[in-house]
């Protein structure tokens, strides 16, 4: 299932939390060879994890991390504006209607629908919270995966070669993309909606009107 968890809520999900940060170490350091910080517990974190981001996490049936991405507003400090201005045409992308999506990670053992499930969840967030665009940082392999699941970003710029290649790209929400991704994920719109409402409330609890 998809979970939506702010960093300050992660402690309630110890296995999910630990496996997310170790899977990130596995993806970004071991497999991609990026220069990321991995602690003694084998967990990868950067300073943006300390800014109470919202994690969107694909939880496997055994309660472990299957994939995740990290969302932050672009109106505060964020990775794209701090480190990748040379890939955005020098434009500081900054608006409460544009959120940043970084550290897109898939565990080695995850099922084939995980990436699509995460993109589907990204669409739920956009639709519910008035987000018009995501600006994302991702590795070269993701370009192929995004394309396969029907949610290709518009690549603004890339740096590095091979495994170390990093790109900055943009997504926006369209009903067509939502339907394509839903189909790739094998997850119905209703189920996706249900997971979102489990995290953020259903919006159907009646607030009594004063007599």
């Amino acid at each position: 299932m998809i979970r939506y968890i702010y960093a300050d809520q992660l402690d309630a999900f110890p296995l999910l939390k630990r496996s997310m940060f170790t899977d990130r170490a596995d993806q970004f350091r071991t497999r991609l060879g990026w220069d990321v910080a991995v602690d003694a517990q084998g967990e990868e974190r950067d300073e943006y994890d300390g800014m109470n981001p919202l994690y969107v996490i694909w939880e496997r049936p055994d309660g472990r991390h299957g994939g995740s991405m990290r969302l932050l507003p672009t109106v505060g400090r964020c990775m794209v504006n701090d480190h990748f201005l040379h890939l955005t045409g020098g434009v500081r992308i900054e608006s409460p209607l544009i959120w940043e999506c970084t550290r897109f990670c898939l565990s080695r053992e995850t099922g084939p629908g995980a990436a699509a499930a995460l993109m589907l969840a990204g669409g739920e967030v956009m639709q519910a919270f008035g987000v018009a665009h995501y600006v994302g940082v991702f590795d070269a392999r993701m370009v192929r995966i995004y394309k396969r699941i029907g949610a290709s970003p518009e690549v603004l710029g890339s740096q590095g070669e091979g495994r170390e290649r990093v790109s900055v790209g943009l997504w926006e929400f369209s009903a067509g993309a939502h339907a394509r991704v839903s189909s790739s994920a094998g997850i119905s719109a209703a189920m996706s909606r249900g997971w979102f409402e489990a995290a953020f409330g259903a919006g159907e609890v009646r607030v009594p009107v004063a007599a």
Binding site: N52, L54, P73, V91, P96, I98, G130, H133
Partner: protein, 242 residues
Amino acid sequence: MGSAEGIPVTGGFLEQLELAERREDLQSVAEALRDRFKVDHLVYHWVSANGEQYGCGTYDPVWVERYLEKGYLRIDPVIQGCFQRFHPVDWKRLDWSSKAARAFQWDAIAHGVGNQGYSIPIRGPNGQFALFTVNHSCDDEAWAEFTALTRRDMILIAHYFNQKALELEPGRRPEPAQPLSPREIEAMTLLAVGYSRAQVAETLSISEHTLRVYIESARFKLGAMNTTHAVARALSRGLIVV
């Protein structure tokens, strides 16, 4: 309730907001915004990292006094549900199930607070946290329609309001306004001379999607509600010359 679409570029509340020189001026901006949105209440509330509170808005002062006196900050599900968050929150999505929350809610309604609310949390610099709320009495259907229509306008306005409040905080230097990058200036200049979006994108050798993001970003930096307004502001500030 109404949408903020079609706000005149001059003489609107954004100009009033820009001209505000004292915190007290924000009160009249809040009232003007409430009238613009045709809602019962509009409230701005900030808590700094050291717990200092500041607010303005249209709630009955008796209610504000009572809220402080009762220490409702610790019970209010809106505060609990929005603190340290950055997504907008419809009050219906919050947990009102505890006895304390229900009692708080009845007390609020008895003091003229409407049954519907939409709050936008804002994380400012140095641990500042602010909440911008519109509140109204109506049924769920009407409220859903209103929030769907005005949500993005409200999110922008909430941030502009907070920027101004930060500027006016006694003893604090405002964050320097982010200037437009050369790429944004090129885009705004071409729009100002009447190019269509497609023509601007072609001229700058970027896609229309990228252009939309550049314009969105420039609009926010210029404190504008729409593209026309952003172009007008860039011109009047001398950021672009045509």
